[in-house]
């Protein structure tokens, strides 16, 4: 039996390697931290894991419809509090064994196991209560409440039960560096690179033979390597280098929707910022057109702009976006001044004061965002300075961001960040009093009520209504100054064809990619 599995595994790999496809080399922003989907920490992790694993459901890159490669049939059960899933037959793991319902339930149980230290799993623990095996390929996943559209929430990757000794999965297991999945590629992490070897399966037939991922480093060297055909692609092309690549006939720039939006979070627990009029004034003092032009290089009126303003915590293509709430593209100094004065602020010597004390705003920004929006922190600082606020600006490292800022323990007045919402547009964690990612511990009863209304909704319409009202409320109360949705650009040589880039996960349609 073991011999048979070995042959099957080798066969899948061999069919991939001996195929007529090419090897694709590309630069990433960094090496992935872990290839285990339970410990995806960054977008780099998510993109790498997409090559190795299949998610139960995913969104089609073109139609945005929910699709699946591994589920043959699904039925909502137990009056909407469960879903019965029948997996497709004959899908192999990279080690030659066959995927079954046991693997699906193992994955669910691992996520529910409180000993599994996974932030990713914590999100699923909130609405999944258990999994029951009902047949070799049939499993029933139970929920804690009725979900209007359960498939939307089941976008997790399936893990092989045979690779683990228990449902308590630790991040430092070998699986994080040498995972086994059912995806189109088998990945192995080395010290400086990750190699993905094609693995033909009943549901995946990649045309490429191999992918090689390395950390990009200096942007100029990345561009030179791409133009010189040493690599075939760069996942994130820095804004400053895009003009050079746009002019090249051998490279095409492709939009990559990160399913994220940018914001300036406001610490409403701090002195003057506690007054909503001050936050509204700040919103009117920020000139988004100018920021977009200087930091991103996009001018007002540009066609196919990768940078689209937003007025609330959703992107404009989201069904939850409330189109009746207008964006604020330009500054309105007069209106802002009126609001500040009505909030009790005084302008002394050109600088705003609150209760007789000059206001100095401590502004931070996630350091790596500078790669996508150059000098945004300085630009916003300058706009606030011109408006009469003293400020101290600083960049925040990834560790400090994750440990202090996101958990509500920082002492900033304003922080500039980017929220990547991945599969589901839910923003409860950001704005609920008990939200796990509530940056400045924002708390508002009306907001909490709307977020609870969304959580308890049993139809799509109820969810949309709740979030439309939330959008309106937050656009008024402004715990965040909502900036924009910013697509990034990837650069791929023209020899790479059929390279459809899926929002957020990037490589979902890798089977169709071809290279000469």
């Amino acid at each position: 039996m073991a011999l048979r599995r070995t042959f099957l595994a080798l066969g899948g790999l061999a069919m991939g390697v001996l195929g007529t496809g090419a090897t694709l080399k590309y630069y990433e922003e960094a090496l992935p931290t872990s290839l285990n989907p339970l410990f995806a920490d960054t977008m780099v992790d998510a993109r790498a894991q997409e090559l190795i694993f299949d998610r139960l459901w995913y969104r089609d890159a073109i139609t945005n419809e929910l699709s699946t490669r591994i589920v043959a049939r699904h039925d909502v059960a137990e009056v909407g509090r469960a879903i019965k899933i029948t997996l497709k037959e004959g899908i192999q793991w990279h080690d030659g064994t066959t995927m079954s319902a046991k693997d699906l339930c193992f994955t669910v149980r691992a996520m529910l196991d409180s000993r599994t230290p996974s932030v990713v799993a914590a999100a699923y623990q909130e609405f999944i209560s258990g999994c029951e095996i009902q047949g070799p390929s049939v499993a029933l996943i139970r929920f804690r409440k009725v979900l209007p559209n359960p498939r939307e929430r089941l976008g997790f990757a399936i893990l092989p039960a045979s690779q683990f000794s228990s449902t308590s999965i630790s991040p430092d297991l070998e699986f994080s560096a040498r995972p086994i999945g059912t995806g189109p590629f088998k990945g192995v992490r080395a010290r400086r690179e990750v190699i993905f070897d094609a693995f033909n399966n009943s549901h995946h037939t990649p045309s490429l033979v191999q992918l090689q991922l390395r950390e990009g480093g200096d942007p100029l060297l990345q561009i030179r390597s791409l133009e010189g055909a040493e690599v075939e692609g760069i996942i994130v092309v820095p804004p400053g280098s895009r003009a050079d690549l746009r002019a090249s006939d051998e490279v095409s720039l492709k939009s990559y929707d990160l399913r994220s939006w940018w914001y300036v979070a406001v610490n409403s627990n701090r002195a003057a910022l506690a007054d909503k009029r001050v936050r509204q004034a700040l919103n009117l003092l920020i000139d988004r057109n100018q920021l977009r032009e200087f930091a991103v290089g996009v001018q007002a009126g540009d066609r196919n702009s990768p940078c689209e303003f937003i007025s609330g915590p959703f992107v404009q293509t989201s069904p939850f976006y409330n189109r009746s709430i207008p964006t604020v593209p330009t500054a309105n100094r007069a209106k802002a001044d009126a609001l500040l004065k009505s909030a009790g602020l005084e302008r002394v010597g050109g600088r705003w004061q609150f209760n007789g004390e000059p206001i100095t705003l401590k502004v931070g920004m996630q350091a790596n965002l500078n790669n996508e929006a150059t000098d945004l922190l300085e630009q916003i600082g300058n706009q606030l300075g011109d408006a009469g606020f003293d400020r101290q600006t600083s960049k925040v490292s990834a560790d400090e961001w994750n440990q202090e800022v996101v958990s509500g323990q920082s002492d900033f007045d304003l922080v500039i960040g980017k929220w990547s919402f991945g599969l589901v547009d839910a923003v409860n964690d950001l704005f609920h009093t008990n939200g796990r990612k509530n940056i400045f511990n924002y708390s508002d009863a009306a907001t909490d009520a709307l977020l609870d209304e969304y959580e308890n909704a049993i139809t799509d319409t109820e969810q949309k209504d709740a979030y439309h009202k939330l959008h309106a409320l937050l656009a008024e109360d402004l715990p965040y100054l909502f900036l924009w949705k910013l697509d990034t650009k990837s650069g791929w040589r023209t020899e790479v064809r059929g390279n459809i880039i899926t929002p957020y996960f990037y490589f979902t349609e890798i089977d169709a990619w071809k290279a000469d």
């Binding site: 290839l35 599994t116 230290p117 914590a122 630790s170 991040p171 200096d218 958990s407 509500g408």
Partner: protein
């Protein structure tokens, strides 16, 4: 001197205790750092399982317990797996690949310092070159390393992490390490000064009158000091190797130590720090052996031919 054995004995004692003392001190130091590795992976505000992870990594009962369990594993050459920096990768395997690289880097760098020592001792590096050497030696290793890294990246591009690129990085790194920060200059001037001082001793003049060679007479006496200088230079190279490996992205132990410290990956920091401690111990033992051999040679009764 009757107690000639005292100094080598102290060196041997230090050599044997360093591989224990260094990881113990490192454990205490990293424990004192703010933050906690388990919370980095699984912040309590965002996920459960932090305590379980802390237990798995033996972080739950203080630095003493952590050090003890680590030592038990290390003595059987089981260093576990990396927590963050190379998450899931076997540290024993990583070390077995990285130690030869660092040794090669330091050995190649020693070629430069060795050339300086031999050149100064034999006199073919003229004293007139000292001002030039000192000027070159003033360039910090960081600057030359950055230039070297840029050269390799520009020449090899995507392949700079491959075999050829790594070899280029190693060769450039060894030149950087051996020349920058006064390494080569110090070897030349230090050795020359040592021999010059010894050559002024009366016995050397007598030996010259007897028709004997200067080097064969002075070498036994300068050997302990020369070995001391050599050990200091090798330690200087070892510490410089960390910087060079990080700047030039060489797959050595130094880079592992740096990244492990930065990311609070205790699993990586302790074995890599112990490797450096072992290197230092080896040098101490070599020096002690050299001193013992010289002392025995000096105290050997000379054969006197019967008249």
């Amino acid at each position: 001197m009757k107690r000639w054995w005292l100094r080598p004995a102290v060196r041997i004692g230090a050599a044997l205790s360093l591989p224990l003392i260094v990881p113990a001190i490192i454990t205490w130091l990293i424990w004192a750092l703010p933050g906690d590795p388990a919370s980095l992976i699984c912040p309590p505000s965002r996920c459960k399982g932090t305590e379980e992870l802390a237990k798995r990594w033996n972080l739950h009962e203080g630095p003493g317990h952590y050090f003890q369990t680590w030592l038990d594993g290390a003595l059987s050459l089981d260093f576990g797996r990396s927590w963050f920096v190379y998450m899931g990768m076997d540290l024993g395997k990583l070390l077995s690949e990285s130690i030869p690289v660092t040794l090669a880097l330091v050995a190649l760098a020693m070629f430069w310092t060795g050339t300086g020592v031999v050149g100064a001792a034999s006199g073919w590096i003229s004293q007139r070159l000292d001002p030039l050497l000192q000027t070159v030696g003033m360039i910090p290793v960081l600057v030359i390393a950055l230039v070297g890294a840029a050269v390799v990246d520009m020449k090899y591009g995507f392949g700079s992490s491959g075999q050829e690129g790594q070899m280029a990085r190693l060769l450039i790194g060894s030149a950087v390490l051996g020349l920058a920060d006064g390494a080569f200059t110090g070897a030349v001037t230090g050795t020359r000064g040592l021999f010059r001082r010894e050559e002024k001793q009366r016995y050397v003049g007598v030996a010259i009158l007897r028709g004997e060679r200067v080097l064969s007479n002075t070498l036994p006496n300068v050997t302990p000091a020369l070995m001391g200088q050599l050990r200091a230079r090798m330690l200087h190279l070892l510490s410089g190797a960390v910087v060079v490996e990080v700047m030039l992205k060489i797959n050595g132990v130094g880079e592992m130590l740096w990244l492990g410290t930065l990311e609070q990956d205790f699993g990586v920091v302790l074995p890599t720090a112990t490797v450096f401690a072992l290197a230092s111990s080896t040098l101490l033992l070599m020096q002690a052996c050299g001193e013992i051999l010289v002392a025995l040679h000096v105290r050997r009764s000379p054969r006197v031919e019967a008249a």
